[in-house]
Symmetry: C2
């Protein structure tokens, strides 16, 4: 494997001139440069990235850690990240491993200049530890404060509040909340919004009917089965995410319970499938693209020492489709 040394030798110049020819073409005579480039081509020279990075002490790369990349959901996020990264000539690599050493490798070994984290597998502790070591991080859907870190999230609580309020205004009284895993911050925030809407509407706190799914379609089915079997059908269900709502919809259909006539349903996320099911799923849209864009933007500010907004919350929007009545005055 040829090195820059071989190229220099073949071109009859010193190593430094060869290096110059690649990195600052204008600082080397045209003829010399041509000779060097020719030599490189002839030898099939491939620069060694590790040596380069070691020397300049930067990688010009940021990592995006996702624990799950199913759905165009994350695709949009990455799209946003990519656009902003491209604008500033940064490179993006995505990792979606669950192996701890693989994560460490990226975060702890200076293999990237910073990271965007959307991965519940990485504990808050680790995130703060990294930030302590001045590793710039954009954390999505976390509630963390640190001067080397920015937090970005959709307004989960506000979105849930709006959805619940809407259900209420559509005449549904008894609204069931299908939560996500107990330790999910997103789910907790969405529950809070739901709760607040109910309290606001009734003045006295009711006995919130809640079950915990696991954010999967199967989990949604399971919990819905239970509800149906117990014969205590609510007037509406607000699912903490669309995946579970998909499961709800399916079980409801199996039992010939009509949506939205017999029961209303709203999900959260606005995954692509939401618009294809029958009836199309009403849901709370998260601005994933914008989230990605902002995350990358703030991260770049962190990297360049520019002032950042340490905490960004982006608005969601309620998408009314077929699983709840569409009120004209809305």
């Amino acid at each position: 494997m040829p090195t820059i040394k071989d190229v220099a030798k073949l071109a009859g110049v010193s190593i430094s001139t060869a290096s110059l020819a690649f990195n600052h073409p204008s600082r080397v005579a045209e003829g010399t440069r041509a000779r060097i480039l020719d030599a490189a081509k002839l030898l099939q020279y491939r620069p060694n990235g590790a040596a380069h990075d070691l020397r300049i002490r930067r990688t010009q790369t940021i990592a995006v850690l996702l624990h799950d990349l199913s759905g165009p959901f994350y695709s949009e996020l990455v799209q946003g990240v990519q656009v902003e990264a491209d604008r500033c000539h940064y490179n993006v690599i995505i990792s979606h491993s669950n192996r701890q050493d693989s994560i460490n490798r990226l975060l702890y070994e200076n293999r990237v200049d910073g990271a965007i984290l959307l991965d519940p597998n990485v504990s808050d502790e680790i995130v703060l530890d990294l930030a302590d070591q001045r590793f710039p991080i954009a954390a999505l859907d976390r509630d963390l404060t640190h001067d080397c870190l920015v937090s970005i999230a959709a307004d989960h609580e506000g979105g849930a509040y709006e959805a619940t309020r809407y259900l209420l205004s559509a005449g549904y009284q008894n609204i069931f909340f299908l939560a996500g895993p107990k330790n999910s911050l997103d789910s907790q925030l969405r529950f809070r919004g739901y709760q607040r809407a109910l309290i606001d509407a009734r003045l006295s706190p009711p006995d919130f009917p809640v079950a915990h799914g696991d954010f999967t379609e199967a989990g949604g089915m399971r919990e819905t089965e239970k509800i149906v079997r117990q014969g205590r059908l609510p007037e509406a269900i607000f699912a903490a995410n669309d995946e579970m709502a998909l499961g709800v919809l399916q079980v409801l259909r199996e039992h010939q319970i009509e949506v939205p006539n017999d029961i209303g349903l709203i999900g959260f996320d606005d995954i692509r499938i939401a618009q294809y099911v029958t009836p199309p799923l009403s849901t709370v849209h998260q601005p994933m693209y914008e989230l990605g864009l902002q995350a990358m933007h703030q991260l770049l500010c962190l990297l360049s020492g520019d002032p950042v907004q340490p905490r960004i919350v982006l608005s969601t929007s309620l998408i009314l489709r077929g699983t709840c009545p569409v009120l004209s005055e809305h």
Copy 2:
């Protein structure tokens, strides 16, 4: 930023002993090791990956290049890759940039030990050039031969043949093929399968009714609109991918053309949405997970010098759902 030198100094040992403590713990006395680890923790030492990689001349990392990561479609592929990589302690990074320099960086600058390519943006020429330079590659959905390269693909032609044959056996005669972009190998192969099925069935080659979409839902809609407007509705449509089939379905519904009674439809890929639309889309399933697994497996063989299967074709399977009649004898 502390280096291994600082750690060594604080622990009162030489640099090499410190290095040993990290890389071959058993080769250093327990007490010494403990001191070194303590020092590292105290200093918040972070190994420098670039220096490490430069020295050992390997990255223990492979790149997966995707031009599009929407859909659980690619998620499954990556899942397969990851599982196999984990088994062999390799790291995986995913890149989904379209910027040429970003791609080069990964492929041409020794930043990874090998790559899995599923990205039509990278030309066959470049792929062969890389292989020439002994950069190990697993190429998906390409027709390439090289001793430093493995080709992996689903049996596009066979899958299309089976789907078309099925449509024929279900009684549809006039079957329209909605192709992908003209330069797409996948689309070409699928067309070939379709063509062969028709020829086999009729003995004399018919005038194949074909239109070219662009593999998107919007493209599917556009082409279907044309067909409908011209009033020359075929008995069935075989779409070169599910995205386009989604568009077909939608336009058909808008025109109150009933599927599968008025017209049959089969797609290709088995994206997740396929099972959620109404009626659920019949399609040809590609074993994405298996494809990813095999790609990574062969790549690892290439990397370790083990014998490889230079060309792997995995079977597809016809998934019968609601957009074509389900024949009992099938």
